[in-house]
Amino acid sequence: MNDGPLTAKRLGLISCQSCHFLCRHPPLAEGQCACCPRCGSELHQRTPNSLGRCWALITAALLLYLPANLLPMTITSSLGKEQTDTIMSGVLYFLHTGSWAVALLIFVASIVIPLMKLLVLVFLLLSVQFRARWRPRERTQLYRLTDAVGRWSMVDIFVVTILVAVVKLGTVANIDAGPASGYFASLVVITMMAAESFDPRLIWDALEDRDER
């Protein structure tokens, strides 16, 4: 029992998730919950029901992924003509007009990051569920990266907001936000919540449980 690394859980301690205060795990009855003496937030040794919540949010995000990418993001009407643009056709527009840096930015932020984020989270969840002991440090780094980068997907939503506002000023053309913008914004918010509900300490628990099993 004493040959593994010392973790708070093993020592019967709880580290407060919001202020890092380290305190003793109090004996609790069923349904009771301890609060941090320093900051008052609820104390949990691990995020409660982390895997279940994360799976649920990922499923919701996967359902949103297709409509977000296939439906029009913007509807431009100019002189009686109407043109719809999806995320991908927006990327192609920038590519054709020679702004390849902007095309790359939107492609990475709106298409690559959400997809990679979902795949990484599914991979991490499966690895935790099957109690994998493979490269925990790299998996934790992967989680940190995913968590940090996800919010940048929102850039496309802000582009639409500004386009809509500025083009309204002119008299010739008009841009409306399409249905995909709502789906896409929900997708980004839900994947951010999914990453937040995943507890990376579960990755390391598999390494320590070996003695107890």
Binding site: L13, L22, P200
Partner: protein, 199 residues
């Protein structure tokens, strides 16, 4: 010497009394344990005052102007939100309003409320709760992403019309740097230690 449990792998790490300024990482997973900065509280306060001033400028002056046919028409920061709302997308309008305007403002005010009294060795009521809320909101303030969105939109619109950046845009851009500086100067561990001393 004190002990801290890594937030990302639960390993108990010992912290020797660290010389300022420094940051410490977990030896097992590489997660950030804490960062301390010299004059953390003074510098946070100075940056917050600068930030709130810039925020007032960004909200009250024209953001972008479109010149077409000799007339100049201006938008403010809120125009996009209002038009999305009128187009029947209230959810999206709320999201943009929250992430780009309200959350950053609430965050600055909350931090000022907590850190201001600490400067004078006092603790304002409910400081712990408010600082906890500030930390929870952290990923949801997206001003820097909004600025990137502006740049992309300018590239797209540049082909169609002449766009003149307004004073608010400059204030907004400066605000992003101020907010990033607040994050790098603020030491949450120090604030929690100070709040815990008197509790």
């Amino acid at each position: 010497m004190s002990f801290i449990a890594c937030h990302q792998c639960d390993l108990i790490c010992s912290l020797p009394s660290l010389p300022e300024p420094t940051s410490a990482r977990c030896i097992r997973c590489g997660g950030l344990l804490l960062q301390t900065k010299p004059n953390s509280i003074d510098r946070t306060l100075a940056l917050l005052i600068a930030g709130l001033t810039l925020f007032a400028l960004a909200c009250n002056f024209p953001f972008l102007a479109l010149s077409s046919g000799g007339s100049l028409q201006e938008t403010t920061l809120l125009t996009g939100v209002r038009i999305l709302y009128q187009q029947g997308m209230p959810g999206l309008a709320t999201l943009v309003l929250l992430t780009c305007i309200l959350i950053p403002l609430v965050q600055m005010l909350a931090l000022l409320y907590v850190v201001g009294p600490l400067k004078f060795n006092r603790i304002a009521p409910l400081s712990a709760l408010i600082f906890r809320g500030y930390r929870k909101l952290q990923p949801w303030g997206m001003m820097e992403i909004f600025l990137l969105g502006i740049l992309v939109a300018l590239v797209k619109l540049g082909a169609m019309a002449t766009i003149v950046p307004g004073l608010a845009l400059i204030a907004f851009a400066a605000l992003i740097f101020v907010l990033a500086a607040v994050l790098s100067v603020l030491s949450p561990q120090l604030i929690w230690d100070r709040l815990g001393e008197k509790a």
